[in-house]
C-alpha cells in the first residue's frame, strides 16, 4: 500500500496524537503527533535522551502515556493493550532473555506465546538462528552469550514472530559490521513479508540503509519527518558539486552560473569549481548546458550529498554524533 492510499483509508499502522510522557520533572515526550504507514520502514533518528525509547516503550504498552493517545493498527495502547501486544513485537535496546536458558528455548518460548505454528516452529527457529549466526552458540546459556550474540537473539525473536508491527530499538548496537548488514537485510526481508517496521537508531548508516522515511526526534519533540532525499533536499545548499574543467573557467561562464542559484568557489588554478546547491540533479544539467554553450570543456563532475548527520544538524542546530 502506498502512503497516499494509507492516508485515504485513514489507516495508519501507528498513530500518536499529542502524546506526552513525563518522568517526574522530565518531559521525555512532548505533544508528539506521529504516524507510520502500513508496510513502511520508519526510522526514528535522534541522540540518546531524545525520547526514542520512551516512544517505543509506549507503543509496545510497557509505558503508559502521561497524556495523549497512541494507536497501533488502530488499537488504543492504553485501552486495549493486550490486543496491541498480539500484533506487535519489540526487539529491545538491551537484550532481554532468561539468563539460564539457551537461545533456542528462549525463541521457542517467544514463538509459542505468539502462536507460531508448532509444526513449522522448530525449522523457523533453526533457520533464523543460522541466518543470524547464532547456531554455533545454541548450547550456550543466555548469560554466556556475548553482547553482539544477545543482541542478535533479540532480533531473532521478532524474525520468528513476524508481527504486523515490528519495532527494533537500536538493533545493531554492539554488533560487528558483518552482523549489522545481516540484521539490516533480515529487517528488509521482514518488511517484504508484510510487516510494518519502526527502527530507532542514532546510526546514520543504519537509517540510510533501511528507511523509507525518517522521523527526527529531539528533546522529546518531533522535529521533522520525511523521506531521506526530501530531508536532504530541504537543506539549502545541501548538495556539493565539484566540477573539473580542462581550462580555467571563463569569467563569462561564472557570471552565467551565478544566475542558476547556489554559491560557488573557484580553485586558485581556475579550473576547479566547487558549488553548494539545493538540488544537484537540477543544477548540474543547467551548468553543463551553460558550459557547452560557452565552449568550456568539463573533465569531471563529482556530486556529494549531505549526510543525515548534516540533516540533523540543520534541523536541530546540533550534531547527531556529538550529542551521543
Amino acid at each position: 500500500m502506498t502512503h497516499s492510499q494509507a492516508h485515504d483509508l485513514s489507516l495508519y499502522a501507528v498513530e500518536t496524537i499529542s502524546l506526552s510522557k513525563r518522568y517526574g520533572k522530565t518531559d521525555a515526550l512532548r505533544e508528539l503527533n506521529f504516524t507510520v504507514d502500513e508496510g513502511e520502514i520508519m526510522v526514528i533518528l535522534g541522540p540518546n535522551g531524545s525520547g526514542k525509547t520512551t516512544l517505543l516503550m509506549t507503543l509496545c504498552t510497557i509505558l503508559k502515556p502521561s497524556s495523549g493517545t497512541a494507536k497501533v493498527m488502530g488499537i488504543d495502547v492504553v485501552k486495549d493493550g493486550t490486543k496491541v501486544r498480539e500484533v506487535m513485537g519489540i526487539a529491545f535496546q538491551e537484550a532481554r532473555g532468561f539468563w539460564r536458558h539457551k537461545p533456542s528455548s528462549i525463541l521457542k518460548f517467544h514463538a509459542s506465546m505468539f502462536d507460531i505454528d508448532p509444526v513449522k516452529r522448530q525449522d523457523l527457529i533453526e533457520q533464523t538462528m543460522k541466518d543470524l549466526e547464532l547456531w554455533e552458540s545454541r548450547d550456550k546459556l543466555f548469560m554466556h552469550l556475548s553482547g553482539g550474540q544477545a543482541k542478535r537473539l533479540e532480533t531473532a525473536k521478532i524474525l520468528v514472530q513476524r508481527p504486523k508491527l515490528a519495532i527494533f530499538d537500536e538493533p545493531t548496537s554492539q554488533v560487528d559490521l558483518r552482523g549489522k548488514r545481516k540484521i539490516w537485510d533480515k529487517i528488509l526481508e521482514l518488511r517484504k513479508q508484510g510487516s510494518t517496521i519502526i527502527v530507532a537508531t542514532n546510526e546514520v548508516r543504519e537509517a540510510e540503509y533501511l528507511a523509507d522515511r525518517v522521523t527526527i526526534l529531539y528533546g522529546g519533540r518531533l522535529i521533522v519527518r520525511d523521506s531521506i532525499p526530501k530531508l536532504k533536499d530541504a537543506i539549502a545548499g545541501g548538495d556539493v558539486v565539484e566540477v573539473g574543467f580542462e581550462d580555467p573557467v571563463p569569467g563569462k561562464l561564472l557570471e552565467g552560473l551565478k544566475t542558476l542559484g547556489g554559491t560557488f568557489t573557484v580553485s586558485p588554478g581556475g579550473d576547479q569549481l566547487r558549488a553548494n546547491v539545493s538540488k544537484a540533479e537540477d543544477w548540474v544539467p543547467r551548468m553543463t548546458s551553460a558550459s557547452y554553450n560557452m565552449g568550456a570543456k568539463i573533465s569531471t563532475i563529482k556530486i556529494t550529498e549531505p549526510s543525515l548527520d548534516d540533516v540533523f544538524l540543520h534541523f536541530t542546530g546540533k550534531g547527531l554524533v556529538d550529542n551521543q
Binding site: 493493550g81 493486550t82 532481554r96 539460564r100 506465546m113
Partner: protein, 257 residues
C-alpha cells in the same frame, strides 16, 4: 493459544528458574537445618524423637518460606535484567501476569516443602500422609502470599543487598516470632504475652501446627485448623497479588520498578 495457556506457560517458565538455582536453595535449607540442630543441642534434651516430630514440620514450613522468598530474589534479577518488561510485551493482561507470578511463587514454595515432606514420609503414618497431601493446597496459598511479599521487597530494592535486608526482616517477623521451632509455652517463658499471641496466629505457625497435628501426630485434619490457615493465608496471598500488581503498574508509569 488462549490467554490462560499463555499465563500458565509464563508461570511454568518462571518456575523453571527455581530448579536452575536448586543448589542455592539446598544451601539455604541446610543452613536452616543446621541452625535448628545446634539450637536443639543447646536446649539439651530436645534432640529426641519428640523433638524430631516437632522439628520436622518446622523445617518443612521453613523450606516453604525459603523457597517462596527466593521468588523475590528471582524477581529482583528479572526486573534488573528486563525480563519483567519483556513479559509485559506479551499478549497477556496485567492480571494474567500477576496470576502467573502468583502460581510460580506458590509452586516454588510447595515443591520444596513437598520434597521435604516426601523425605519425612518414612516417619509418618499412612493417614498422616493423606492429611499432608490434603494440606498442600493450603500451603500453596500461603506460599503465594510470602512470594508476593518477597516480590514487593524485590521491587523496592535498588541493590541486591538491600533485598536481602528486607528478606531477613521478613524472616525475623514471620519465622522468628512463630511456633515453627519452639512451642508457644517456651516462647511465653521469655517473651511478653502479645508476642506469644502473634507467634501463635502467625500463618507459618499455623501451617507448622497443622502438619504437626495432622500429618505427624496422626490426628484427623480438622476444618478448624484448615480454615484458620486459610483465614491467615488468603489475605497474605491477596497482599502478594497486590504487590505484584503494584510492581507492574509502577513500571508502566515510571518505566522502572
Amino acid at each position: 493459544m488462549s490467554e490462560f495457556s499463555r499465563l500458565v506457560h509464563i508461570a511454568r517458565t518462571d518456575f523453571s528458574y527455581f530448579f536452575r538455582t536448586k543448589w542455592l536453595m539446598a544451601i539455604l535449607i541446610s543452613l536452616n537445618v543446621s541452625d535448628m540442630l545446634v539450637t536443639g543441642l543447646v536446649y539439651k534434651g530436645l534432640v529426641g524423637f519428640d523433638y524430631f516430630r516437632f522439628l520436622v514440620p518446622g523445617i518443612v514450613v521453613m523450606g516453604l518460606f525459603s523457597a517462596a522468598t527466593d521468588t523475590g530474589r528471582r524477581i529482583w534479577l528479572a526486573l534488573r535484567e528486563g525480563v519483567v518488561q519483556y513479559y509485559m510485551t506479551l499478549p497477556v493482561r496485567t492480571s494474567g501476569l500477576v496470576a502467573a507470578y502468583i502460581i510460580s511463587g506458590g509452586l516454588g514454595g510447595i515443591v520444596y516443602s513437598g520434597l521435604l515432606l516426601i523425605i519425612a514420609f518414612v516417619a509418618i503414618p499412612p493417614q498422616g500422609i493423606l492429611n499432608a497431601i490434603l494440606l498442600l493446597p493450603f500451603l500453596f496459598i500461603l506460599a503465594t502470599g510470602i512470594a508476593g511479599l518477597a516480590a514487593f521487597f524485590a521491587s523496592i530494592s535498588r541493590v541486591g543487598e538491600i533485598y536481602w535486608v528486607y528478606a531477613q526482616a521478613l524472616q525475623v517477623s514471620l519465622v522468628t516470632i512463630s511456633t515453627i521451632f519452639y512451642p508457644a509455652s517456651t516462647i511465653s517463658q521469655y517473651l511478653p504475652a502479645p508476642i506469644v499471641t502473634i507467634a501463635e496466629y502467625n500463618p507459618l505457625s499455623l501451617a507448622a501446627g497443622a502438619l504437626r497435628d495432622s500429618a505427624f501426630g496422626g490426628s484427623a485434619l480438622s476444618t478448624g485448623v484448615v480454615s484458620n490457615l486459610l483465614m491467615v493465608s488468603l489475605p497474605l496471598a491477596g497482599i502478594g497479588a497486590l504487590a505484584y500488581w503494584i510492581i507492574l503498574r509502577t513500571i508502566r508509569v515510571r518505566g522502572k520498578p
